[in-house]
Amino acid sequence: MMGAVTSTPHRAEQGAPGEDPRAPAAARAGGHPGTWVVVPLYREAAVVADVVAELRTRFLHVVCVDDGSPDSSAALAEAAGATVVRHGVNLGQGAALQTGIEYALRDERMRSVVTFDADGQHRVEDAEAMVQRLEAEQLDAVFGSRFLDRRTELDRLRRAVLRAATVYNNATTGVRLTDAHNGLRVLSRRAASCLRLRHDRMAHATELVLQVGRADLRWAEHPVLVRYTDYSRSKGQSLLNSVNILVETILG
């Protein structure tokens, strides 16, 4: 499973950005020992093993926060090489993210955190490119966006709802993003320690952006491809849930 990582990981912190731009990414970063990939996990037994295995080809440290899944998701993630942190009861994705981020913060050698969905909709190469960009440009947050190019295929209704969410997000947070609800992000240690996600369920995406905006951090957006498979579509949020997100965001 770890075949792709051939070099021994560097124990020391990664070198200064742009240290040797010619070296291949995996060799230069050595499995990104300063990065923890946080995967909120709830009932993804069908795909989580593949998602973790793929992540582990590029990232040494993957932590799945099992949000009280009734199925075997946690065991499968662990078998695939992830560290698993278990919520005793189901709290919601926002709560799982915050737990994962706090876990990573307990590691004093952690330099950045990647948030990555467990349903296989994100690509590991996008995550890696975003980590490299965070380091190279000394940013505090890199947000994945599926709307910076036209690769991601979306049906018209979903696109419209995501656009509306983005408009609302930009109006209320003061951070101008093109894709407000993308689960793929990279945060520096500084950004991670600024976060206090209080929305347990899905309203955390806007909350996260708001807190990054308030903390006056350096951030950027990075184009990513979101793979809508039949699986992720069936697991994805129903559009009606956007009403819940809006109400939770407003009522606090």
Binding site: P33, V84, R86, H87, A95, T99, R106, D107, D200
Partner: protein, 121 residues
């Protein structure tokens, strides 16, 4: 707009605002109990003397006593709803903190996990 309409609308907004803003402390609870007490007294009064409520209703410009009572109930109901929402959020947040604390304390410490991952590669 009738005077009573203004009063009721202002009351609805105030109850909402007070319940949303105050941090469910003792003062919050006291206000809720006073409001509940007032409602009980009014209900009893209206049962004992239905005519009296109608007199009051007429005085403020509402046709019947039952209508006045209905408006009062709507205000009280909205207040109860907002208050219940706030309390549920506060309870949820405490449950989250407890669950998170347990999860993190029971998990393999990140330093150990780090060593294991790096060993395995």
């Amino acid at each position: 707009m009738l005077f009573i309409q203004v009063v009721l609308i202002v009351a609805v907004l105030c109850v909402g605002a007070v319940l949303v803003r105050s941090t469910a402390g003792e003062r919050h609870q006291a206000v809720r109990r006073i409001l509940l007490g007032v409602l009980v007294v009014l209900a009893v009064a209206s049962i004992l003397a239905p005519g009296a409520v109608t007199v009051v209703a007429r005085a403020v410009g509402v046709g019947r006593g039952t209508d006045l009572l209905l408006y009062g109930l709507v205000v009280a109901f909205l207040g109860a709803l907002v208050s219940a929402y706030r309390r549920q959020r506060s309870l949820e947040s405490r449950l989250t903190q407890l669950t998170r604390r347990l999860a993190l304390d029971e998990a393999e410490p990140p330093a150990l996990a780090r060593a294991r991952h790096e060993e395995a590669s």
